[in-house]
Symmetry: C2
Subunit: 453 residues, 2 copies
Amino acid sequence: MTDRQLHLGVILTGAGGPGRPKTWLYDDLPLDSSVNVDWYIELSQLAEKGKLDLVFIVDSQFITPNSPPHYLNRLEPFTLLAALAVSTKNIGLVGTATTSYNDPFNLARRFASLDNISHGRAGWNVVTSGDSGTAGNYGRDEHYDYDTRYGRAHEAIEVIQGLWDSYEDDAFPRDRATGQFFDPSKQHALNHEGTYFPKVVGPLNIQRSEQGWPVIFQAGDSDQGRDLGAALGEGIFTHGESFEKTKAFRTDLRSRAEAKGRDADSVIILPGVRFFIGDTDEEARALEQRANDMNWDFDRAQAEFGRAFGWHDFSQYDPEAPFPDVREIATLAWKTQADEVTDTALREGLTLRQTVERFAAPRRGHFVGTAQHVADLIEEWFTGEATDGFNIYVEQPAQFRRFVEEVVPILQQKGIFRTEYEASTLRGNLGLPIPANRYTAAREASREHAAIS
Amino acid sequence: MTDRQLHLGVILTGAGGPGRPKTWLYDDLPLDSSVNVDWYIELSQLAEKGKLDLVFIVDSQFITPNSPPHYLNRLEPFTLLAALAVSTKNIGLVGTATTSYNDPFNLARRFASLDNISHGRAGWNVVTSGDSGTAGNYGRDEHYDYDTRYGRAHEAIEVIQGLWDSYEDDAFPRDRATGQFFDPSKQHALNHEGTYFPKVVGPLNIQRSEQGWPVIFQAGDSDQGRDLGAALGEGIFTHGESFEKTKAFRTDLRSRAEAKGRDADSVIILPGVRFFIGDTDEEARALEQRANDMNWDFDRAQAEFGRAFGWHDFSQYDPEAPFPDVREIATLAWKTQADEVTDTALREGLTLRQTVERFAAPRRGHFVGTAQHVADLIEEWFTGEATDGFNIYVEQPAQFRRFVEEVVPILQQKGIFRTEYEASTLRGNLGLPIPANRYTAAREASREHAAIS
Ligand SMILES: Cc1cc2nc3c(=O)[nH]c(=O)nc-3n(C[C@H](O)[C@H](O)[C@H](O)COP(=O)(O)O)c2cc1C
Ligand SMILES: Cc1cc2nc3c(=O)[nH]c(=O)nc-3n(C[C@H](O)[C@H](O)[C@H](O)COP(=O)(O)O)c2cc1C
C-alpha cells in the first residue's frame, strides 16, 4: 500500500447538473456548453495537462421541463467520447450507459470501438437508470424493479466481457508475405444463453484494444448496486458528502469485494466532489457562498427534488406540513435515495420545506480554501483511506484551471499524484491488470496440463 | 434542371469488403486499416480536399469466419463518425444503422448528437439487415420477415424525425441578462403510439442542429425497400452495375417518389462504384485486372456467395451440377438478391460453379481509364440521368488520391461539380431543404389562420 496513488477524474456537465441550475450563468462557460464539443475538448485537454486519470460523462434518457439545464440538452456519451478520443492522448474516457435500455451486443461494440479509437482508454460506468419515466422512451409501461435491473446489469456485463474476448490477441496475423490476414481458430462465438438475455451468439466484430477490455465503473447505492460493484466493478462512482460517510462506503464496498474473493485494491472508489479555490480561505468560502446563493430557488429545487420519486410533483402538498411519506412511488425510481430522505424526514419530524432544504439546497462543501488547504484535505481523505481519489464536478472552468495549475502540483510534491502518465491506457494509469483473453488462457492452461500429465 | 450538380461520396472499407478479400495486400493501406481511426481521418480529409459531399460508412452486426476482412473487425459507425466530425470541417458524415436491432430513441439521440458535433453534417443510411444471423446477437431466434423489417424501418424513421423535433429552434434563449436558459413551451413530448414501436414518449434530450434533421439515406432493393426510399429517403444507395440498370433503378425510384406526392429531385440516387485510373487506358485496365486476379479464389468466393442465402454452405454441393434452388432459405436474408441469382441460374441452366463465377467473381468495371476518360464517363452517366452522383469504393488509397487530384478538377472544368462547398451542412451541399420544426410550423399555421379568419 506504500505506493498507493491518488486517482482523479473530471465530470463535465457544462450548463449545470442536478442542484446547480444556474451554472450556465458563469461567463467563462460558452452558453451552449452542454452541446458544445469544442468546450468538452478544451476541458479534457486541460484535465490531461493536469495528468488526471479520466474524463467522466454522466448520462440520462428521460427529461421533464424541470430537468437541470445540462440534462435538457446534452450530447450522447459515445459520440462525445469518440470526439474526445481523437483530441487527447493519455486521459481515460469513461462513459455512462444503462443496461436497462441497451442491447449488450450494441454496448459491447461501442465500448470496444471507443477503446480501439482511443488505444485503450475507454471505461464504462454501468448504471441501471433511476428515472422511471425512461421506460416510456423504450416501449415499456414501467421501469424494471430493482432485482431485474441489477440482474440485467450483472448478466449484461458478463455477456459484454465475453463478447470483448471474441478475438484472441493474435487473431489477425495480417502477414502480406504469407497472404494470411486472419486466423479463424482465434475467432470465438460466445453462444450465451441466460436469464435476462436469453440468447447472444456473437462473435463481436471487433478486436480487443491495448488494454484488453474497457474498465468497468459502477454507480448505484442500494444493496444490489453495491453487490454489483463489489462483484464486477473496477471503479466505483459514489457520493462525497463527508469523510466518515465516504470512508464507511469504501470499507463496505471493499469487504463486499473481499467476500466475493476479490482483491479489494482492485476496486477504486471515486466520490464526486466540488472544489472552490481562492487566494485565501475566505475568498474561496465567498465563491462557494455566491454559487450556493445563485443556485437556490425553493420552487425549482422542490421540482427537481421530486426526481428521486419518479419526478413526483411535491408542489401539490403544503410545504409547512409534515413531509408526506410517498416512498412507495419511488420503488421503480431512486428507491435508496427516497428511503433515506423519507426516513430522515420522519425521524426528525421535518416539514416538506425543511426536507427539500435539507436534501436539495446547495450545501457548504469540504474542499473549499486555498490550493494548499484543498490539497491538504485531499491528502487527508486519501491517506485516511476514505477514498482512492475524486471525481471532480467542474462548474467554473476558471476554478478547474486553478485546480490543475495550483492544486495538482502540490499533490505531486506530496508524492501522492503522478507527474507523468504511467501508461497510455486507462488500466495502466489506474494500476489495473489487463484481463487475459479467456480462450487464450484456456488453451494455455490445457497445454500446461498436458505437459504435466 | 440546368443547375443540377453531381454529388460524390466515398465508402471507406479499409481491409476489403465483399468480393474484395485481398484489398489489405495493397501496401499503401495500413495493415489494420479497418480499425485504424487515423487512416479514416486521413482519407476523409483527402475526400474533403476533393470537395466530396460525404463519407459513407457501411455496417453489419453478424460475422462468420468467411466474412470479408473489413467486416471481421471494424469500428462501430457512431464512434468512428464522431471522431471524423472533429477532424473535418465540411464533408458530410453518413452512417449505416439498422432499424431491426436498435431502439428508435437511441438512434435519434446518436444521430442528433453527431449532427450537433459536426454542425449539421450527419446522415443516416437506413437499413434493415440482410444477415439473418444478426437475430441471434439480439436475443431473437429468427430475423424479421420483409414486411416486419420494412414496417419497422418506416415507423422508426417517423418516430425518430418526431423526436428530432422535440425542441423548437428557439427553445434555449440562454439569456444571462434575463436569467432565462430555457423556454419550456418549446419542449415537446412525441407521445408516439404505433405498431412496431408501441410507445415512444420523448422528448429527446438534445436540440436540432444547423440542418434541422440528419439527412435520410436508404439502401435496400426489394419492392418494400424501394417504397421506403421513395417515401422517406433523401439519398438512395444502390448498385452501379451498368448505365441501363442504374438508370432503370433511378427512373423507378423517382416515379415511386412522385406517386407518393414528392418532388423527385429531392431524392438523390448514388450508386456504389469502383474506379481504376491510369496514365493510359491500358494501364488502368491492367490495374483492374491485377485487382480482379488478386481477389479471385473460388472456394472463398463460394463461401461469401452464401451470404445472401443466410450464409448457406454451398460447398456441400457438386460445383459442376446444376445450381440448386434453395431460395426459400433466403426469405429472412437477402431475398431480392437470392431470387435474382436463382432466377438467372435456372433460366440460363448454369452450374453452381458458373453461378458463383457470374455473381461473385470480380468483374470488369466501367470507370476504368485515364482521368479524362473516367471524368467523361461520369459526365455521361450524370447528364444521361442514370444517376445523381456516385459513392466511390476506395480500394487503393493512391487511386483515390488520383481521383481527387486528377478526376475532380476535370469534373469542375466541365461545370458539373463544385469548386467550393456551397454550405457547411450536408443538406446545404446536397441541395436539400431544412425541414421546419413541426410544432413551430403548426403554431405559425394557426397564427396565420387566426389572422385570416
Ligand atoms: C454517484 C452516483 C452517480 C450516478 N450517475 C448516474 C448517471 O449518470 N446516469 C444514470 O442513469 N444513473 C446514475 N446513477 C444511478 C443509477 O442509475 C441507479 O439506478 C440509481 O441510483 C438507483 O439505484 P440505487 O438505488 O442502487 O442507487 C448514479 C448513482 C450514483 C450513486
Ligand atoms: C447498395 C446497398 C447497400 C447496402 N448496405 C448495407 C449495409 O451497409 N448494412 C446493412 O446491414 N445492410 C445493407 N444493405 C441491405 C439491407 O440491409 C437489406 O436488408 C437487404 O438488402 C435486404 O433487403 P432488400 O431485399 O430490400 O435489399 C444494403 C443494400 C443495398 C442495396
